[in-house]
Amino acid sequence: MRRVVVAFAVVLAASAAHGQTRITSDVEIRNMEDRVRKATDFETRVSARINLGDLRNDRNESAAAQHEFEMALQLARDAREQSWRKHDLPRYAVACSWAGLALAALGRGADAFAIFEEAVRYAPDSAGIWNNYSVAMSRLDRRGKSTGTGRLSVAAGERTINPTPGDLLRLNVSRFTLAQGLLNSGDDLEKDEAERILRTITASLDSDTFRSTRQAVVKREEFQILTAPTTETGRYLSIFNRAHMQLALIYENDDRIDEARREYQAVVGRRSDEPTALAGLARLSRDPKERDQYLIQSLDANPFAADVVDEYQRHVNANVASPAAAGGSVGSQVRLAIQQIHNRDFRRGRETLQTLIAAHPNNDVLQQLLASVELLSGASSGRPRFLDQLTGPVANPSEPELRAVMSLFSTNKLSPTDRATLDRSEFASNATLDKPDGDAFAGGTINGIPFRFQNPTRFRGIPSAAKTLRVAYRILGATTVDGRDALLVEPLRVEVSQ
């Protein structure tokens, strides 16, 4: 039976605390939409849809992202039927694997599992299909499955005899997926293994084998960092970016500052406006002016990265931000809005945000900033919007929204309906944890607001040395920590920052 090379998906690190590892821009969106329109082959079209979905997710445009994943699923469904009719089992397996990726992106875990099992029944030696399986399970937070299928992908890739640079590049994608799965497990030993694998990848990408690929990347001015790149240069760039970023985040979390800076600089060296690397350099910088410059560049590259927006808000609150001008880039306007909110110039802040929202409708970050304005200016009667418009999990509630909830609790102004809404609301935020007592965490801060867990909590698979986590939680009430107003929360799930 002939061999079919699969376009490998690259695992995202988007769920982690500093996880906005990929840039999003209107140019990328347009390029990708153009690719969908022009492409005739299945894999280019379906991978472009998956990429578009992820680009939309990065821009916090969740409804548009959902639409792209549905379209990817439809394409995979059609290809699957067609290849089965033509008795083309390798292509049938490939189509199944893309359907699985789309189903995972849509959160349909059991369906994704079932169709991946069908894929590996007919292509059990395909490194690409195992890799996509691992990526899908990682998206679904099935850590053991992601690692297990990742190992099978690497094993299949390493069985290739006389590998070409393309084969080696795909093997590095498989290795990266495995490393990501190991990091997600939260186990210290697995983290060490992941670090070794990531070093292997970066060394391999810097080797002579990829000399011509590196030249091609420069010559073509290729810059897109994608989930499912289909060209060799695109794959090189995506895996180069992610491997160095992941190493940087490991080092940053371990306080190995110089090593972290070196990895971020490697990314910026390949692409000077990589927003997450710039945000990382900003965090590591001790010089406020230098930090200011990195944050400006990061927001210019991606104005809608929630974690960078949070970082910039803290920077502004520390009164060290340089003034932002009206007009100019979208990033500049976002910075201006944040500064206007900080200066309590709510009227202008609202106008700035409304102009941005007119150009970028359905953007969750802009909507959240606007909600902050309404809350702080008193226009929304001190009620966070999720109390009245709860449609699902609340990602990254803003500082004013969380303070408003605390205020409603402490003034006893929550109605029974509000309490019922909070009871069934799941929130997700990046949290900095206080030093644990043994291996039990008592609390920490979210957006600068102290919080306390209902009880000191141990997290399975989370090492006690982990400082920054992505926490899913319920808000139970208001309390005080060291004399400061604080949230009382019930933790539901946690992930280590990567």
Partner: protein
């Protein structure tokens, strides 16, 4: 014949709106009971499918199901949620186990359930009193089957068949069969045969069936069709009108056909090729007849010597079950098994 348990994970039927990848059905001949697992519920029905005998709490997303040889216990796997349920068929008592990895295939050796775990390259043994022991095997343990003496685990990535002592759990011997197998069957010796069971592995990507003399651990490979994906045997003692006992049937989705042969020791030898209306890739035989399933389209056919009849569509590989008398599918609306018409 001891029915081996291949990787009978549900195929998701994206093309068929009605198909649901969440029903797994099994048949216990000795108890005369149809067992149906669907999300969070496991139910037992009598042989007519009309009378519900019991109902119990089940798994979130059942992915495969297998009945013990004595028909007293059914093992249900949830590959996505990493759970295993062992159900006592007589009364519906359920013992739930959290698996430390993805459970992908199961078989019973006597009263012990054996389950392969892919992520950890291990096989679990669960005794009737609930003692769970893990044993290491080679990477990607996708298929499991038993003989009268041993448990056999096939690790697909390395193509290795491992013979495991069911008492100690140790691998006693192994043999390389080639990677990419999709179905493993083991047959005990028939009267007047030399001692020792035979194993049969389908390798669709290689276009081959591997036959293993488990006594000598010797292999013989045969090229059959284009992609032999699934194999079954008509049991001795089976009361089938169309096929003699010992007949082997191989599903070949690339040739869109079945390869039917009458030498049980060498499946596919001097076989007749029976064309099918669509690609079929799974076969099953019971007293109710020989059935072939098209996973891509979700269509089930009944196979006679000279005719193929479409029985039902919109199915997954585990959402139907042939009993000794009839073929049943799951009627979600009625909440009970539906007896399908299997003849024109």
């Amino acid at each position: 014949m001891i029915r081996a348990v291949a990787l009978s994970v549900l195929a998701l039927l994206l093309s068929v709106g009605a198909a649901r990848a969440d029903v797994a059905m099994a048949w216990s001949q000795s108890a005369g009971t149809i067992v149906v697992a669907h999300p969070k519920i496991i139910e037992g029905f009598d042989r007519s499918g009309e009378k519900k005998l019991w109902s119990a709490e089940g798994l979130v997303s059942p992915s495969s199901i297998v009945t013990s040889q004595d028909g007293k216990v059914v093992a249900i796997l949830d590959g996505f949620e990493d759970q295993i349920a062992l159900v006592t068929v007589a009364n519906g008592a359920v013992a739930l186990y959290e698996a430390p990895g993805t459970p992908v295939a199961a078989a019973f050796f006597g009263r012990d359930a054996w389950v392969t775990l892919r992520d950890l390259s291990r096989v679990l043994r669960i005794t009737p009193d609930g003692v769970v022991t893990e044993f290491e095997v080679a990477m990607d343990p996708a298929l499991i089957a038993v003989s009268d003496l041993f448990v056999f685990v096939y690790s697909r990535a390395e193509g290795l068949l491992q013979e495991i002592d069911p008492k100690s759990g140790q691998v006693t011997r192994n043999v390389v069969l080639g990677a990419g197998g999709s179905d493993l069957e083991i047959r005990p010796p028939r009267p007047f045969d030399p001692p020792g069971a035979m194993a049969y592995l389908c390798r669709p990507t290689a276009g081959r069936i591997v036959v293993v003399d488990l006594n000598r651990m010797e292999i013989q490979e045969r090229g059959i069709g284009a992609a032999p994906a699934d194999l079954t045997f008509v049991e001795f003692g089976a009361q089938l009108l169309s096929f003699d006992p010992g007949t082997s049937v191989i599903a070949d989705p690339v040739r869109e056909s079945l390869h039917i042969a009458h030498n049980p020791n060498v499946p596919g030898q001097n076989s007749q090729e029976s064309s099918q209306p669509t690609p079929v890739d799974r076969v099953v035989v019971t007293g109710a007849g020989l059935f072939a399933f098209d996973s891509g389209n979700g269509i089930l056919y009944r196979i006679e010597k000279r005719a193929t009849t479409k029985v039902a569509s919109g199915l997954t590989a585990t959402s139907f079950v042939p009993t000794n008398e009839a073929l049943f599918t799951w009627d979600a609306k009625a909440g009970k098994p539906r007896r399908e018409k299997t003849t024109e």
